[in-house]
């Protein structure tokens, strides 16, 4: 098990090097000069342009810039944003809890609905329920997030008035963030109704962000269950006279979960990608929106730092999934 763990962890290092190289190169390959973008129509004189380039270190050879960047990362410094002049790390971690909170809720939504629905669809294979659910899953998977979000806002907030349009909590509540997680902070604030307000603000973004993972998890669970339900040991369990609920819930589902967990791990990356759009629609102050702004303004340090930190999160989650996978499936950790 230790060897398995160490191998997985060792694999993370080249991945990190690759990510720093890729983000550094890609943002520079995209056309667009951050200084020109900052100056807009007004423009800057060539002398001032050169001065500003030098002040950001862009006048140095690219390889030297990369070396400085990597060296700074190793010292825990991701640089300062070109736009706000604030440390990238501070900006990232101010916004990150909002994205994490939304992603966790979206994932819970996807798992708690996707798993049972997938299991039921497999058990009632070919039924109206199966067809409906799988059809809906396909629709959910193909739905453009932006359109889906606006549709929900117009219907639930605009027409029915059940949910707030956007934001994390009603503007009535004002307290300094403690953890950055609004659900926790609203409870800590002790203000009446703050928690309910935070929950009501989470409903629509959770549904929108959770839709694609939900569809994927439901479909994956169904196909994994179908495969497992045909196995000998399930037939044996049934033949032994075990209750169907126990056969499905314990014998079948536990084995079917292995590929599903991998998919859930991979969905974390999908969630971050989806968060970019979801956060924009719901004015959710998370890193997705921040990153898009940084890219459009060619804020090199923010883009590099932001992507590196997001990639780290995705890698760590997948590493955790790999380890869990190893735990529940012994065959994997002994494979050479």
């Amino acid at each position: 098990m230790l060897r398995f763990f160490l191998t997985r962890v060792a694999l993370v290092i080249p991945t990190f090097v690759g990510i720093t190289l890729l983000t550094f190169a890609m943002i520079r390959l995209v056309p667009g000069d951050p200084i020109e973008l900052l100056a807009g129509e007004r423009g800057v004189t060539p002398e001032r342009h050169a001065e500003l380039r030098a002040s950001y270190g862009f006048d140095k050879p690219v390889l030297e810039q990369y070396w400085i960047y990597v060296n700074n990362i190793l010292h825990g410094d991701l640089g300062n944003s070109i736009v706000t002049r604030q440390p990238v790390v501070n900006e990232f971690f101010t916004l990150f809890p909002a994205t994490v909170e939304l992603s966790i809720c979206a994932m819970l939504f996807a798992v708690f609905i996707g798993l049972p629905v997938g299991v039921l669809a497999a058990v009632r294979r070919g039924s109206v329920f199966d067809h409906t659910v799988m059809g809906a899953a396909l629709t959910g998977y193909s739905m453009p997030i932006f359109w889906w979000g606006l549709l929900l806002i117009i219907f639930f907030s605009g027409i029915l008035g059940w949910t707030p349009v956007s934001g994390r909590i009603s503007l009535l509540y004002f307290f300094e963030p403690v953890t950055g997680f609004m659900l926790i902070d609203s409870l800590l604030s002790g203000e009446d109704g703050a928690f309910t307000s935070a929950v009501s603000h989470l409903i629509l973004p959770t549904i929108v962000l959770g839709t694609i993972p939900l569809a994927v998890i439901a479909r994956q669970t169904r196909s994994a269950m179908l495969e497992v339900l045909g196995e000998d040991y399930v037939r044996t369990a049934r033949a032994k006279g075990l209750a169907p609920r126990r056969v499905i819930g314990v014998h079948a589902l536990r084995n079917a979960l292995i590929p599903v967990i991998t998919v859930i791990g991979l969905q974390v990356g999908v969630l971050f990608a989806g968060a970019v759009l979801t956060e924009t629609i719901f004015s959710w102050p998370g890193i997705g929106k921040w990153l898009i702004d940084s890219i459009s303004r060619r804020d090199y340090p923010s883009v590099q730092g932001g992507i590196l930190l997001i990639a780290t999160t995705v890698i760590l989650v997948n590493l955790a999934v790999d380890l869990v996978y190893g735990l529940i499936n012994p065959r994997i950790r002994y494979r050479r």
């Binding site: 007004r42 004189t45 934001g167 109704g193």
Partner: protein, 529 residues
């Protein structure tokens, strides 16, 4: 579960209604996060709304809703006969805001003015390099060349000494970068070793003071209780940062905010019909244009440029691109700016005459390029569509145009090239309401290779605008600029396309919100019913 959800929704809807706020709270659905809170360090309008417009004052101000300069922190001022010295008599009894970080021990005085300008001007100033130390507006307005010194005469008198006469100087001092910060606060923060606090936790003399800021989410202000012009009618001001225009409109409809900027053009009709919304509109202080490269043949010939201008159906552009929310431009400055020449006769739309003029100029089978901006701007909501319409108009007179576009930063950079191929669609929004801010920046000889995209340096025009820069008599300046507009029209370095209309949806309960011609958003003077 469903019932609980409905219950929560109803509770929320009630809680969100403006009635629920005990104190008068105005919520503005702003379009983005400010870059920071010191307006001298940044250039974005979003930043100015959140900082200079609410927290700070300047020596002179623009009268709300107009481009007229009125006294601000300076009560009166005088200009020396040679136009090189501007003396300001400062207002007494002006209080700075008291915040968590700082309690002022004195009123505003000359030291604050000296600090605010010397920080930007003097590279040796201990604050010059704080927070990145880049003062692009100060530089952009040529202040480093223009200023010789800023001198404290006494506690309530400051003198600006210039290297050359500059008539727009007063208007320049009303701009956001010229906001006045507290020198006492700066000294205190410097002594504490935290100078950047001055930019992060602002202290100004303005109508609102910052309470808290959560990036990308919300900015909270409260009324400055001792504001020198009288406490604001609203007690709290909140910026609910909402990037998407359609979502902003949904929030406005739901009463989650009372004012929103930059509506989606597609929502305008619905807003007009909305009983809860007043749709304010005003001509913007902007111009959208097509700049020829007057250095490259055959565009170095004014007749060719004039002919191409006559081939463009501008009315069709107003309808097709601006959806009616614009006005055909005949001058390079918008009608809301003083000295706008009503007498200018625009080039008529006459393809036949245009064809003839091209023949006379010996131009046939002309192939060129039209540069279409990749972004939406106030002066041009859809450059691609505009370029297509012009392309079709030119095709009708035998000119074949190819439409090109680049990423925005690249576009701005490449369009400056003096040997650029083709005509560039671009525009400008005024900074200070002075004609010089349009004519000298966009068409002056100094701007060639830079902000003068037509690369046009025409001496008779240059003489007029240079003279107008140094003359302090307003009537004489007006005459010079009127003449300059006629010379411009005759020489046609641009096709002047349009001035757009700015829309501002506000809820019915909002009283006396006025659209700022400079495109800013000002909440002092606004009340709620």
């Amino acid at each position: 579960m469903k019932r609980t959800l409905i219950g929560a929704g109803v509770v929320m809807s009630l809680a969100l209604s403006p009635m629920a706020f005990a104190a008068k709270t105005l919520v503005y659905c702003s379009e983005g996060s400010p870059e920071g809170f010191n307006p001298s360090l940044y250039t974005a309008g979003t930043t100015f709304d959140a900082s200079s417009k609410s927290i700070y004052n300047r020596l002179v101000e623009f009268d709300r809703g107009t481009t007229n300069v009125v006294p601000g922190l300076a009560e009166t001022w005088s200009v020396s006969d040679d136009g090189l010295e501007y003396t300001f008599n400062l207002r007494k009894g002006v209080k700075f805001q008291t915040t968590e970080n700082f309690t002022p021990s004195r009123d505003f005085n000359a030291d604050d003015v000296i600090y605010s300008f010397m920080r930007q001007f003097d590279k040796e100033n201990p604050y010059h390099n704080v927070s990145g130390g880049s003062y692009e507006y100060f530089n952009g307005m040529s202040m480093p060349d223009l200023l010789k010194d800023v001198v404290k005469v006494d506690d309530y008198t400051v003198k600006f000494v210039l290297n050359r006469p500059e008539a727009p100087m007063i208007a320049n001092l009303g701009m956001d970068f010229a906001s006045i910060l507290s020198a006492e606060y700066a000294d205190k923060m410097l002594a504490a070793g935290t100078p950047e606090n001055v930019d992060l936790n602002p202290v100004g003399t303005g109508p609102f003071q910052l309470v808290s800021y959560q990036k990308d989410a919300v900015i909270r202000y409260k009324a400055h209780p001792d504001y020198w012009a009288g406490k604001a009618q609203i007690d709290n001001l909140i910026f609910a940062i909402t990037q998407d225009p359609s979502v902003r409109y949904q929030k406005l409809k739901a009463g989650e905010c009372q004012i929103m900027p930059y509506p989606n053009p597609a929502d305008i009709e619905a807003m007009k019909a909305d009983a809860d919304v007043n749709l304010l509109e005003q001509e913007g202080l902007n111009v959208g244009y097509l700049a020829y490269n007057t250095k490259m043949p055959p565009f170095d010939n004014a007749k060719v440029r004039k002919a191409l201008n006559m081939a463009i159906n501008k009315q069709a552009i107003i309808e097709g691109v601006f959806q009616g929310a614009g006005k055909v431009a005949k001058n390079p400055i918008p009608p809301t700016i003083w000295s706008y020449n009503e007498a200018t006769v625009d080039d008529p739309y006459d393809p036949e005459a245009a064809k003839k003029m091209l023949d006379e100029a010996g131009v046939s089978g002309l192939k060129t390029k039209i540069w279409a901006m990749p972004v939406q701007r106030p002066y041009n909501p859809n450059a691609r569509r505009m370029a297509e319409l012009i392309q079709a108009d030119w095709a009708a007179v035998g000119v074949e145009a190819e439409i090109v576009s680049y990423e925005w930063g690249e576009y701005l950079k490449r369009s400056k090239d003096e040997d650029r191929d083709g005509a560039v669609l671009l525009g400008w929004t005024g900074d200070n309401g002075d004609p010089d801010n349009f004519l000298a920046v966009l068409l002056g000889c100094d701007g060639v290779g830079g902000s003068n995209r037509a690369q046009w340096c025409y001496q008779p025009f240059e003489d007029l605008i240079q003279k107008a820069k140094v003359v302090s008599d307003h009537a004489e300046r007006t005459k010079l600029y009127e003449q300059a507009q006629l010379v411009f029209k005759e020489q046609a370095p641009w096709a002047t396309i349009a001035h757009s209309v700015v829309y501002m949806p506000v809820r019915k309960e909002v009283v006396d919100y006025r659209i700022d011609p400079f495109g800013g958003h000002i909440f002092y003077g606004v009340d709620l019913k």
